[in-house]
């Protein structure tokens, strides 16, 4: 499946003659604060712009909690419906992505609580798992297997929250205060400490592996 291209959507024809005189291109250079404010004030184009900009990333994030595509779609739809319903009462934000992440996380977790499903294997999410792969060609098959095992072992040692923080920090570029909020930490420093503990763990278990790699493949 190819990634959806927000420009190629069949609905782009409809959006160009929006009712409020704005075009989506107007929002490309605006800050999150401005875009959010425009949406709160009733700009349909701002709403569509937000949808287009964050749909893909929300989908990827939601799949960490649940692998069932229908549930993910429902969660995203519910999120945007809630935005429409509460438009006038929403607080201001300087990071729309963080706001959307927080809302959808709450939604997905409560969905599972209601169903009393914790680890229903078919729909369990990716749980912030990640892998480390090295692109270089490995001549020695044995070395390759060893390396893979070492990496897998090292990653196993990480706790779920450590994997989650790596996702937020490296792939979604969130700040420590935002990460702390998503992980329900009261202090951003706790998030920073957690990240460091994860990185130290990775270093202790993997640095040798990566160092060897460099020596062999000058």
């Amino acid at each position: 499946m190819t990634n959806p291209n927000p420009e190629a959507s069949i609905l782009s024809t409809i959006q160009e003659s929006a009712f409020d005189g704005n075009k989506e291109s107007d929002f490309v250079n605006k800050t999150d604060k401005e875009i959010w404010k425009a949406f709160k004030s009733g700009s349909e184009v701002a709403f569509i712009y937000i949808y287009r900009t964050y749909f893909n990333t929300l989908y990827r994030y939601a799949s960490q909690f649940c692998r069932d595509r229908d549930t993910i779609k429902d969660a995203i739809q519910d999120l945007f419906i809630e935005l429409l319903n509460k438009r006038n009462k929403l607080s201001d934000t300087t990071s729309i992505k963080f706001y959307l992440f927080k809302s959808i996380k709450i939604n997905l977790i409560s969905k599972f609580k209601v169903r009393k499903i914790d680890y229903y294997s078919e729909i369990k999410g990716f749980d912030f798992g990640f892998s480390m792969s090295v692109e270089e060609v490995i001549i020695n098959q044995q070395l390759d297997e060893d390396k893979k095992k070492r990496i897998a072992d090292a990653l196993q040692k990480l706790r779920r929250k450590q994997r989650e923080i790596i996702y937020y920090y490296y792939f979604e570029n969130l700040t420590f205060p935002e990460i702390a909020s998503l992980l329900n930490f009261s202090n951003p420093k706790s998030a920073q400490n957690l990240l460091y503990s994860a990185l130290t763990l990775l270093k202790e278990n993997l640095a040798i592996t990566f160092l060897l790699l460099r020596f062999i493949f000058r």
């Binding site: 499946m1 190819t2 990634n3 959806p4 927000p6 190629a8 959507s9 069949i10 609905l11 024809t13 409809i14 160009e16 003659s17 009712f19 409020d20 005189g21 425009a38 004030s41 009733g42 700009s43 349909e44 701002a46 569509i48 949808y51 749909f55 893909n56 989908y59 990827r60 994030y61 799949s63 960490q64 692998r67 595509r69 993910i72 779609k73 739809q77 945007f80 419906i81 429409l84 319903n85 990716f126 798992g129 990640f130 892998s131 480390m132 792969s133 090295v134 790596i166 996702y167 920090y169 490296y170 990240l195 990185l199 990775l202 270093k203 993997l206 640095a207 990566f210 160092l211 460099r214």
Partner: protein, 337 residues
């Protein structure tokens, strides 16, 4: 300099370092290459950190184009999305008395200008655009300055400049409209729908941007039109009775059926329609939301015609012949098979 004291974790956590590795940031690149050359001691640690960062890959599901479109379409069908919900005009809402002062000022200013300048033509950058649109449940008839009649369907809108009729007659359309074009051999009438244009001199035709199949369909009732693609320069001429479907960079000619233009007469035509088609047509026509419990089987289809009928009549008649129950709460209908 802090980088000399850095351990691997510190590199891994450093946002500048990360943006250099992940985004190839030019500024950072210059800084770090320079640093690496002049600090061989800590170079090894930096390079290991770099290898590790490049190796990390997340696991996740990617959304499909279809899912992107589906969720957006169903959002737009919702009550909460109705056009009148959006009342944003311009950048800042202004308090009314300020508006009154501004209007008074502009009025007096323009009066003074008119007195001084007489009838000077407007400058190019003062073109204003007029937009008219219909949400689901609404159809309208619009008369353009040159006498052309536009029947605008639900979920559709048109846009034209306030110069329309003077030198040019150009309309931008999204959705569906039927045009009864006033004859003017000196000024061709052009409808723009994305990359496709339809040009006519004095005719009546229907233009439909089809959301489902992603094609644009032009049906010609009388006169003659030319339909073309702006980029590929492909074009066809239509004679009365013909229609063309612009899809995937191609232009496919055929003949149109009454079904293609029936909506303008207030007629809904179902020809072996699936339930989903019936549902979508009624939702768009009446601006309601229809939920179905126990959807009918794969082979279910419906044929029938309704002229200027109320939704109540249609649902009642259908429920009788198709044997389903229904419940209606204003704009919300639940059908149970």
């Amino acid at each position: 300099m802090k980088y000399n004291q850095y351990d691997i974790e510190d590199f891994l956590a450093d946002k500048d370092f990360i943006s250099w590795i992940k985004e190839g940031d030019k500024e950072q690149s210059y800084f770090f290459s320079n640093w690496l050359d002049t600090n061989p001691d800590n170079k090894a640690k930096a390079l290991i950190a770099r290898e590790m960062l490049l190796a990390i890959k997340t696991e996740h599901l990617e959304a499909t184009q279809q899912e992107f479109d589906e969720v957006l379409e169903s959002l737009m069908k919702r009550k909460e999305y109705k056009v009148k919900h959006w009342d944003y005009r311009g950048n800042n809402p202004v308090i009314w008395w300020r508006w009154a002062a501004i209007i008074a000022f502009v009025f007096s200013l323009s009066f003074a200008l008119y007195w001084v300048d007489g009838n000077k033509p407007k400058a190019e950058d003062q073109i204003a655009y007029i937009t008219k649109g219909n949400e689901a449940g609404k159809r309208s008839q619009i008369m353009l300055p040159d006498g052309t009649k536009v029947f605008l369907n639900a979920c559709s809108n048109i846009k034209y400049s306030d110069h329309y009729g003077h030198k040019e007659r150009e309309i931008e359309l999204s959705g569906e409209a039927f045009f009864d074009v006033a004859e003017n051999k000196a000024s061709p009438f052009i409808v723009r729908t994305g990359d496709i244009y339809t040009r006519a001199l004095g005719t009546s035709f229907n233009v439909h941007v089809d959301g489902q199949q992603e094609g644009i369909i032009v049906s010609l009732v009388s006169g003659s039109v030319e339909v073309g693609h702006i980029n590929t320069r492909q074009k066809v001429q239509l004679k009365a009775g013909e229609k063309v479907n612009a899809i995937d960079e191609g232009l496919n000619k055929s003949h149109y059926a009454y079904k293609d233009i029936a909506w303008k007469d207030g007629v809904i035509v179902f020809e072996k329609a699936s339930f989903s088609e019936v549902q979508q047509t009624l939702e768009k026509w009446y601006g309601v939301t229809i939920e179905v419990i126990n959807s009918p089987g794969e082979g279910w289809q419906y044929s029938g015609m309704f002229k200027n009928s109320s939704l109540q009549l249609i649902i009642e008649r259908m429920s009788f012949t198709e044997r389903f129950n229904y419940e209606r709460k204003e704009d919300f209908i639940t059908i149970t098979f």
